[in-house]
Every structure is written in C-alpha cells, then in structure tokens.
Subunit: 337 residues, 4 copies
C-alpha cells in the first residue's frame, strides 16, 4: 500500500520533503501539491513525475479524495488553518515546525484533535530522529548513567542572516532544544530563566548573542543551553547529560581525523542542513510507516503546544530577566505518555 501524500507549501523545505517522499523513501507517493505561488506549485509538480494534482488552495488539496495524508510546509502563520482543516477532514497531517505561531493556536489544534478522537497530527521536530540523540536517549533509558540530574547543551551557528533578529534565538533556534530535550529526558519544564552574556562583536544591535537559557523540569533536572548564533567557527550542537552514575554526551558528527599543518583534529560542519539531513529522512520514513498503521509516534500536537508555551515563557524571561514559570494545561489523557 502506498501512502498518497499532498504537500501544502512548495518552498525550500517543501521541495526537500517532496524529493524525499517521491524519490528516496519507501511507501509514499506525492499526488498533490499546493502553494500560494501557483507557478512554484506547478514547477514542483513537474519535477515529481507521475500524475500530480496542483490545487488552488490548501483546503482543496486536503479535500482531494486521492490525498491520504497531508504535509504542511507552508509559512508558519498558515499552519493552524491547514492542520485544523486536515483534522476536520480526518486526514493525518505532518506539519513542519512550528505547529502554530502562538500557544493559543497550538491549543486549538490540540483540542480539535482530541475532539476528533483520532491521533492525526505530527510536528516536524526532526532532532528526535537524529542518530546521535537516539543513541543518547537509549543510553539514558538503559540506565547507563542512572537518573539524569543536569543537562548541559550548546546550539551554535556560525552566523545568521540579516532577517534573523529579535527573539529568534529562542523562537527559531532554541525551539529545537525545547522539543528534543523534553523528549530526551522524558520530563516537562516548570520554569525558565534567560541570561544574556557579553555580546559578541560579530552580532548586530538588533540581536542579543549569545544567550544562556536555563530550564527546570518537574523532577528537578536543571538544563542549561548556550545559544550562540554568531559563534563563527561552525554549526555545532552539543548535549551532555549528567546522571547519578556517569555522563553521556551526544556524539560529534562522523568525520575524518586529520593530522595536517600542525593540527590533529576533525572538521566541524558549517551548514546546519548537513547536520540533520539524515534525521529528516528517518523522520518522514517513520511518519509514512506509522501513518499507514494509523498511529502517531512523533512529536504530537501536545508537544507542539508545550513547545509553544515554553518558547513564550523563555521570551518573557529574556525580557524580564526573571524566573518565569511554564504553565500548561494538564496533560490530557489523550496524549498520555
């Protein structure tokens, strides 16, 4: 059985996902596309091969009876509409992050999914599918280092484009840690605090950089994450879990060890896309496979909502300089762990 997928949004990430679904992964076909820019949709459809419908609206695509499942890769503000419409149509939907641009909107999706009685929504947090993070989670689950007490992380980009400013270090970069760390340690956050160190000379007036973001979990685990988006030296994701019996660290990406020019070492990636390129493949393959079985194993609407609330709290903590509680609804039994 092939999962026939309709993709809303044929920008960069949309095209990447279409290539995966159509050519690289197994068990799915892209049968319909839509984009606010119809030319983009047409052009993309032409690259897929086969009989691909180009719809005039996301709703029309969702309503297309040939479409078994929907992938939403349109721009963020449209996510809520298309995810809700997919739920209304009873169709599984994979929505790129963010699930919605506000916590309130994410909560509306949560409520709609619960009301539908079926698990339909998955959010595109790909780090959970990274081999390194998975190895780390397995190490924790195996009890190798005992109970987790602290997590030390870093999220570093060599530089960011001009449009990256304001709170984007939180809403665009740190949001990945919000999701993946919660999954990694299987715990929820209760408060946050944001520290702003001395600014790197490489940043601009409209962008604080770096940040240190602290999170406390329900069980008392303390997380500190350095977010440094003009670190100059490379794209570097670090994560170290300190447990009662030992410490486990996310592996460095595989690379050739070189002895050259009086240095012994390995290359650091520069491009974030390369760092998680495989995670995207695994993510969508597992989405195809679980969707066919009528299941959602990936980041859920609840996770999308929790992340949105946490992100909002971090932004507030940054502005106030104070400890800010992270208050979410009680976890619905629908999303029981």
């Amino acid at each position: 059985m092939t999962l026939n997928v309709g993709v809303i949004g044929t920008g960069a990430i949309g095209q990447d996902h279409i290539k995966r679904l159509a050519h690289k992964l197994t068990g799915a076909a892209v049968v319909a596309v839509n984009d606010i820019n119809r030319d983009s949709a047409q052009a993309t459809a032409a690259t897929i091969g086969g009989d691909v419908a180009v719809h005039g609206s996301g709703q029309a695509l969702i309503d297309d009876p040939k479409v078994d499942a929907v992938v939403v890769t349109s721009w963020g503000p449209s996510h809520e509409e298309f995810v809700l419409a997919s739920i209304a149509a009873g169709k599984p939907v994979f929505c790129e992050k963010p699930l919605a641009t506000t916590a309130a909107a994410a909560l509306r999706i949560v409520e709609a999914e619960i009301a539908s009685g079926r698990h339909l929504v998955q959010v595109g947090f790909m780090r959970r599918y990274d081999r390194g993070y998975r190895m780390l989670k397995e190490t924790l689950k195996a009890g190798t280092i005992g109970e987790a007490l602290m997590v030390h992380c870093a999220h570093r980009n060599p530089s960011v484009p001009d449009f990256y400013k304001g709170d984007m270090a939180i809403t665009d970069s740190f949001v990945h840690e919000i999701d993946v760390l919660r999954w990694l340690i299987d715990d929820d956050y209760v408060s946050t605090q944001v520290i702003i160190p001395r600014r790197t000379r490489r940043s601009r007036p409209d962008l604080d950089d770096p940040h240190i973001i602290l999170l406390e979990t329900r069980s008392g685990i303390r997380i500190d994450v350095e977010v440094f988006v003009n670190c100059a030296y490379g794209y570097d994701i670090q994560c170290e879990v300190v447990g009662e019996d030992g410490i486990a660290r996310l592996p460095e990406p595989m690379s050739i060890q070189l002895r050259k020019e009086e240095r012994l070492g390995n290359a650091i990636l520069n491009d974030w896309k390369l760092r998680f390129i495989e995670a995207y493949d695994v993510e969508l393959q597992e989405w195809i496979d679980t969707t066919k079985r009528g299941e959602v194993h990936g980041p859920s609407a609840w996770d999308g909502y929790f992340t949105a609330v946490t992100s909002d709290a971090c932004v507030e903590a940054k502005r106030s300089g104070k400890l800010v509680p992270i208050s979410v609804r009680d976890r619905p039994s629908f999303y029981a762990r």
Copy 2:
C-alpha cells in the same frame, strides 16, 4: 520502474538481502527465490509477500522471464556457475563475495563478461559503501593529504568460530582489505609479504593469529595490515593513509561518549554485522539504481579476479615467508578505470 530480482541462496546473507530488497530499499522487488534447500526457499518466499516464484534450480530462476536481475548468495563454490549463467542469460548479477573460489574461475567470469559485451557483474564487497571509507576516499581525492605513500590498517575480530581456520584470516577476513584498499587508493598491488608474529594464547593450534600482511602497489605505496581475529576486545577496523602533506584516518563508528567508573571513552562494537550494516543497504540501493540504468559502478568481475589473485599470493607468501609477486592479466580495456 521496479527492478524484479531473483535471489539464489536463502541462507543468512540471502535473507538479509531479501529483506533489504523487499522492504527497505526503493525500486526493487523480489520475485523469485531458489535454494538448494527447498524448504528454506519456500519459507523465505512466504516472508516476502506478493507473488514470489520458488524455483527448483538457480538456472531455472535465471531463466524466469519475470527476473530482471539476479542476486547470488548461495555458498561460494556455486558462485561461478550462477554468475556465468546470468551472463549467458544477459541478466545483471550481484554476486556476494567471493566472485569465485579460484582466480582461474574468476578469470573465466571476466572473459565471459567481456565476451558478452555488456557490464553485468557486481561483486559484494560492501566496504566501498561504508560512509567512513567513502569520506576517506573523498579526502584523498580532494588532495587534502597529498599523494598517498603508506597505508596502515588493522582488521580485528573479538574471536572467530571453530570452523574459521587455516588461511581464512587471508581468504575470509583480509580479502575485504584487498578490495577496499585497492579502491581507496586507486592503485594495483604488485607484491605481498606475510609476517606471523607471536601467537595470541587465545588462538588455536590450527590458526595462526595475528598476521601482518604487507602489500606494495604499482606506484610504490606500502600497505601494512594487522589481521588479528582473536583480539578479544572488539570488532575494530582501522585505516590510516599517510600522505605527503598529512594523515587521514577512518572515523570510529559513531557512539556515545561516556564518563563512568573512572573511564572516559566510547563503546567498541563487538559484532561485525553492525559495523557495516548500513554499507549493505547503500550497496544494494546503488546496485538497484545503477542496474536500472544498465550500469555497473560497484566492484566488477575484474575486481573480483584481482582480489582472488592477490588472496592467492598472500596465502603463498604466508606459507613461504617470502615476498611474492602479484601477477594478473593486463587490465582489459573493457574494465578501464
């Protein structure tokens, strides 16, 4: 277009390849199987799903008009027969290593393929598809370390089963280095010498262990490979290329760094199957893709022949304790680099 594959030999490696072709990779289907043990073939066919023919002989499978391409995973002594039959039938054939059990037999395959006028044969040396070796080859090709001068390698198994004896350290283990190093440095061997160090107490009287095998290439590169199949501590494949401008080393398999019990370090694999499990996937996926295009990019019949000649020379060098030349036919233009 789906490549319809027939698989001869449904033992362990056959079943692994069938699972890959049928369920994991894209663009292929397993439509026919055969095994000397018909029950095994039947049982395997049942696991595939769909309409799978169970043939009474390898020849019958090869002759099946539904079969586009053949995978030979039967026991070694039968390889020659099935590869030659596939060539005769004009069908692409992927043959697990060894291509044949003697250099003379491998040469008959080479001659048959040349006579057929088409590139049909690929040999299952999977290391060329390992991500680490590919990174290493890219490093060499990029000129990062200049011209290669020496290669230092190790091939270590924690232990070997009782049936592993005699010259198997060469014919079964080192044979992988014979193929992959030739590919890595894009050069041919001209002589070999085998050194037998002090035997580990963990070996048996019928098995010298470890060995150090030396190879010289046409351009003068010197290769030394420690083959140590009762090394006790793990399955460990090392490869270091010393160039004029620096040294490049095969990456360690990705693993979690642990600080625990007064040690800082990483796990070493114990099972060779895990070390190259991805390489098998890549190998067969690329074989599917290139076969559909009528091409052979992987290890060719010529490579299989060259490996057989080298392996024979190493066995002779081990017995004589002397330097033994590696003499092959002139490379046919059919197999031009």
Copy 3:
C-alpha cells in the same frame, strides 16, 4: 642563596610541602617547624634531616632569625594570626587556602600588608600553576579565541567524606574555581546565583549535591560551574572558555588510550591529589624563586580577600535562591594588575 623556610602546621599538607621544600625543589631549606601537636612537629623535623628547630609556637617560629620566610599550613582558623604575625615580622609568607576564614579577616590582612609597604603574602591556590590552566590562559592571552564571553566548568569529585557537608561545596570545592577563573579571564565578579538541581541519591540529607553556580563578571562574561561532589565516576575538572572566535578547553590529564573489553578510552583520575600534584611543585618552586627576588607573583592577599567575599556571596545566593551582588572594596593601587 638558599631560602630558609619555617613551616607552621605539620599535618598532611604541611608534610607534603616540607617534602617538596626539603627534597624536591631547589633553592630552599626547611629550618624550623611548629605544630600545635608538638610530637607531630618533632617527628616531622626528624624526617627532614639537618638542623631543624622545633618551635613551641607559630610566633616563635616567625621570630626565629634563621627563618627567612614562612609557610602556613596549620588549620584554617589560625591562618589570620600567623599571616599577620609574618607581615609584622616583615617576612614573606605562603599561606595555604583559605587566607582567612572570613572576608573581614582577609581584609585585615590586606590592610596590614598595604601598611607594611611590602608584598609579602601569597595564598596557596595551586590551580594557577597547573599546566593545563596555564596553557588555557596562554591561549586566551594570545587572542586565539578572541574575547571571552562565557565559561562553562565542572568540578566533580567521586565522593566526599562524612565531614564534608553544609556549604562546603562552595567554601571548600568551588573556592578553587573562584580563584582560578578570575585569574584565567583576568576579570572580577559582580554577582552570583546558585541553582540546586535534583539531588543525587548518593548524597546525604545534610549535603545538597550537585550545585550549579553562576557568576557574572565586570565585563559581562557569564560563568557557569557544575559542582558535583558525589559524581561517582571520578575526579574530573572541566573548563571551557567560549570566545568570539572559538572555544578553548582545558586538557584532560595525560593518560594511556586503551582499547579493551569493548571500550575505547582513557582512565579518569579518582584522587584529586594526583590531579594537581605537579601544580603544587610548580607553585612552591615559583614561590621560592620569586620570594628570593622580593616579589609576589602568585595569588595575593587581595586575591584571598576577593575569593572570601565571593564565597560568602555564593553561600548567601544558595540560601536565598536569589541573585546576590559581589561587593568588594575598590582595588587598592598596591595590588594593581
């Protein structure tokens, strides 16, 4: 010229220093000892060889005209008295940490030294003499990573004895980071905050463990230090400085890389004494050499005072859970950088 040293306090650390001064280092002799336990002093004197006076009081030792310089290794509450007496006698004095048990007492020493008009006091913070920290400081001074923005540290002991409780994680362990980090980044602290993560099951009710201690410096550098004194796995000191252009990390102690029992790695020390054993030698040798030239290059009375104020602020921050400012006197010109 030999520096004739009198040692007050012949306990464990006193005996270690006496061995160094008498047998291992150059340019000094131990000519007098004193201890509250006269038997200990006598026994220690006998191990030194030569003519060693055993004095009935620290004051008597300080007054001994044969004594050129004083080493204070008695218990902490007596440090102020003997350091002040040494200053009064115009004799250089090396005082093991802490300089005094309160910031007020440390300030009295500062004032006495200033009043004496001569630099006489050095405090025994040995980490500044550790090869790794020195390499790290040289890296920073060379501008290799640009301006420092953040420092991430860990101070981990495998376990602590029963008498270690209350605030000792700050006053006894973290105090080393207080001194060495200030020296490392050549900056002063302005505030601190202490976070108490989930407690390890290995700790006791009378000891919070681990802690995360945050410091802010005058220039805005943010420091976070995990202090985890029941980490179980070993004695492990980590320090990573994040600069505008790169990141520099304290080296691991030198050790043999082993491949054994399915692990690739290195030993982690268990005993803190081994970690800094060479630093003690370097510390005292440099003290001998600079003292002979009438100079003090090591941690000064001012540093001892600054550390005491910082330590007090951290204890307060731990109790209050709040950000606590670190307020010191203006730096006297006597201690100009």
Copy 4:
C-alpha cells in the same frame, strides 16, 4: 651531598645539560668544563657562576679530583675516548647518544666497564624518561593488555636540515626507537627488514623518505616503525602496543582542545626539542640521584652496544632489501636484567 660534575663538550646539548645541572635540578653542581673550542668552554663556564674550572682536554677534566662524575656531550667520534677514560678513572659517566660510532667501539666500552667491576656508564636515551612512555610501560607491566604481540610506531619530523642524509633516518632518528622499544617491551631484537615506500616529493635525492622498519624480537613480537622525516605536518611520535587482551597507545602531548575555523582539534608540536624537554630533566635528575648511590638505572653501555648492533643491521637491511639477523654477544651477567 652535591655531585660535582664535569662536562666535556659545550655545544648546544652540552649547554642545555649544564643549565639543567647548574640551575634546574637538585643535588648537582657543574665544577668543570672542556670543549675543543676553548672560547666556547670559557663562555659557558662564565654563565654557570661559582668556581668552574675550564680544562684544556677532556682527559684533564676527567682527572680533575674535584670532578665526581662526567657528562660527555662532545661530538660523537670522541665519545669512546672520553667514556673509556672515565671508566679508567673510576668515575661515573653520562654519555649522550651514541655511546660510540661503531658497534665495535661500543663493545670495547662494555668490556672496559665489565673489567672495571663497577657500573659507571649511562647513555643519553631520554625517551625512557618521557612520562608517556613510562605510563605505557607501566600499563604493560601491570598486565592490562596481556602479553605484547605487536608494536606499531611512527617517528615523524616535519622536515630535516640539509646535512641530514644517507642513513641518518636510521642512525639518527630510528635509533631512539631502537632503544626505547627494547626497554618498553623488555625484549631483544633478532632480525630486521627495511622497506622503502614511494618517496615524498618533499625529500631530496640523497635521502630516502619515508622508511618502514620491521623488527622481530626473541619472543616473536613484531615491531613496525614508520620513519618519515619530511612529513610536513609536525613532529609526531606514535607508539601502539597490541597485546593479547587489548591495545595501549602512547598519549598525545597535552594541548588545548580548540573549536575554531570549522575544525575541532589540538595542536601538534613542530619542534622535537619541546616533545622531550621534560624527559631530559627527569633523565639527568635520576642520573644525579642514582649516581650518588653508586648505581646506574638508565640505558647502560650494554644497551648502547645493542643499539649500535641493531642500527648497523638496519642499515644493512636497508641496502640489501633483505631480512638481516641481529647478532650480539651473549648478554654478560654483569648486565643481567
């Protein structure tokens, strides 16, 4: 008691040793110097301070009753004469490597020392005093990796000066491995073979580079050493011992780990002097200490002789391309292990 040392040869290494003896180490004084260039001797004497005799000949220095022990750092061809004269005078002598320029001359020294009935001669192979090699030897002695079976080594220099040519890769560079590996594995060599790989473009016509030198020991351990003196990238000494139960590797020199400019790694030394600078200190300090006790614990005249014989055999093996036996006298009981 101070060991009063006379130093014959005030060139570079002589001056280094004089600085160590006079200023850095404990328990020795330099009381006499001699050099074929009297001006050099005079100038050096002036740097030492105190009453230093400048002798007109090495023999005169040896005969000086103030001289307790002799250090020979003159040029190689003069070593035999001064060592024999020291033995004749019954004075301990530390001779920089080589002990003598021929195996026959080294044997004359061995015989003279035996005839004298006293252990007087130590040869300046400093690697035995390197912390890393000592850690490696302790690991072997502790049985951590079981019995040694193979040793893989590399001796790499970034480049060599113009006067370095002919067999110097063996006689000047590899000679260090000859001594230190024999000590490391506590075994003797029985044969050698030398392989000459493709020459680096960085070498000159009068210098083969690199070499691979193979040694076999009495117990069957096989050693391979890559000697590559124009490796370009740095001064790099590698040593890995493969045992029955695991593998132990010489530590890399301590250095700061950097993340910078898309690379993660550590500096490699460029200057061989820095690599073993501490080993020289330890070597001479231990020589002072053991000499005062009338003992020789360092490389003996027998070791110097064994090294000379091995070096000669390697040169012959290089020229012949054949396996060459290493034949030494039976080990005299005087030099029993």
